[in-house]
Subunit: 323 residues, 2 copies
């Protein structure tokens, strides 16, 4: 059990039901996708997104049990996330994810496109059948943001003029929109007040940003083994994240290396050395901590419960991945 | 002006607004998709699907003008259709469509996956914002059916045991579900009775099936030039359609050729000769005519209007493509 999953104690039974449901939902209807589904939903995914939906559901339903619609929302959240990963891996030509080969590298582009489309389609369908127009709007916003984010990332490659604000916007699209909107949606299914709904959105938004900033730092500080994908892959592909953006403010020669896209021998090593010499990683850590703190503040409005505590602890856990 | 577009006279002005809107909606937000959008929405698409939505809208609103929501529904319909084409072309590795190169052959898999995802995402978002849960359900059913249909087609390749019923089911997923559900949705936006809504669904279903059967016949009887894609492409790739399925009932040796996937020299030519000798194409024509007639019958319930007449004429036009 990883530190993350022990935090999920209040919803551990819920997550097991979810894992079984997801495999069945996807695999049963289409044998051709069964292998992909096994691969996708069995591959050591941390299930952070559905865990948050379930924790928010329990924290807002309080003594009452969560409903089938809360569970379905958690499943939809994981389906949307997985669909976007499968298509991102085609777009980014990634061969590894979470330490296992990606769907497109294992089964080919054909199955990867189909599997992603099927997951998106199925999530739209389940979503519509939750019979709550506001929830449909929130999650369709997410699907739109994910597509925009992936396009944006391609456009900004090796663009050294990108600001920290633009980086945070891109990170919101990539990692925070799903957590923010699904947390709010879980609250709406529990019929919370509009004010509480906004706080749940705020929790998800800041948690998601902290999570993404930490992920971006780990790309510099971890080994390929720990990451389950090649280290430094962001930098190599020109995806400029917080540590680089902060480092560029101190080290102007970094810009030159990036703008020539590391074509000369030793460019990448030199860039890495400049980043490590700078305050880039430290400042990125501080930025992540700020967002983690803001996430926790948004929970003050909820009544105390085991689930609320777990949501708070998760914000600490995200930062603890750095040490 | 092709025969099809002259049938669209009652909604010709509407279709021009639609064409402009589609290019703007997709291209403006993402310059990277602008070229793809120009290509997709300018490439001689026949716009049959949005034309039907607009004609149904006018036929059901009668003397009143159609609303912005009717127009948006027509746009959503074309976006969903286009998104599915872009992804189908990746899956089928098709290089040509409507006589022009496909998005993936022109811009690569990366842009094709992104463009399709973005169109699906955008259509989900506009759909949710139509503020009609029943319409959301109908169209999310379509997105699900399209994904299922494409998977099904892959599973049934070179499967000679496939029945005409299974072929019609596959054709429904591929071509009829979108027309059927969007026609019904247009009626719902006009607040028609549940009975009329079902008739609109019936029109779309049978029209879509007739359309697909005719398309499948043209794959045998037309030249590559006329089709805008290589002729006989269905047969070669093992997609068994009405003419082949009927021909197999008469010519048992056809089965052998198909089951060995035309590996021996001359297999394809021999298969083609057997199909032409059989009643396969004639029987497929009769099947298409049956569905076109059933489509027209479902319109009896609507008050007479120019738009209803155009919907009826379109069923004839579909059959006329064969002569």
């Amino acid at each position: 059990m990883t530190p993350a999953t022990s935090l999920f104690a209040p919803v551990e039974a819920d997550l097991q039901i979810l894992a079984e449901n997801l495999k069945q939902l996807v695999g049963n209807r289409h044998p051709i996708l069964y292998a992909a589904a096994e691969h996708l939903f069995g591959a050591g995914g941390k299930r952070i997104r559905p865990a948050i939906v379930l924790l928010v559901s329990r924290a807002t339903m309080q003594e009452k049990d969560i409903t089938l619609r809360h569970r379905r929302l958690a499943e939809i959240t994981e389906m949307i996330h997985t669909a976007s990963l499968v298509h991102d891996d085609i777009v980014d030509e990634s061969d590894m994810r979470r330490g296992v080969p990606t769907v497109h590298s294992l089964f080919g582009n054909r199955i990867a496109v189909l599997a992603g489309d099927f997951l998106f389609a199925q999530s739209s369908w389940y979503l519509a059948n939750l019979n709550n127009l506001e929830v449909v709007k929130l999650l369709s916003e997410v699907i739109m943001d994910l597509a925009s984010g992936e396009i944006q990332q391609g456009l900004n490659c090796f663009d050294t003029s990108i600001s920290i604000e633009a980086y945070l916007q891109k990170s919101y699209y990539k990692a925070a929109t799903l957590i923010a909107n699904s947390s709010k949606a879980a609250g709406l299914l529990s019929e919370v007040s509009p004010e509480t709904a906004e706080h749940l959105y705020g929790y998800g938004r800041h948690f998601g940003l902290a999570f993404q900033i930490v992920d971006d730092i780990l790309d510099f500080t971890s080994s390929t083994d720990t990451l389950g994908k090649p280290a430094l892959s962001d930098l190599k592909s020109g995806n400029l994240t917080a540590p680089v953006l902060f480092a560029m403010e101190e080290k102007s020669s970094l810009e030159v290396l990036i703008e020539r896209e590391f074509v000369q021998e030793g460019d990448l090593e030199q860039a890495m050395a400049l980043i490590l010499e700078s305050q880039g990683i430290q400042r990125a850590r501080e930025l992540a901590a700020e967002h983690a703190n803001m996430a926790v503040e948004h929970l003050a409005n909820l009544p105390p419960s085991e689930s609320r505590q777990a949501l708070m602890d998760m914000a600490d856990y995200v930062l603890s991945r750095l040490y």
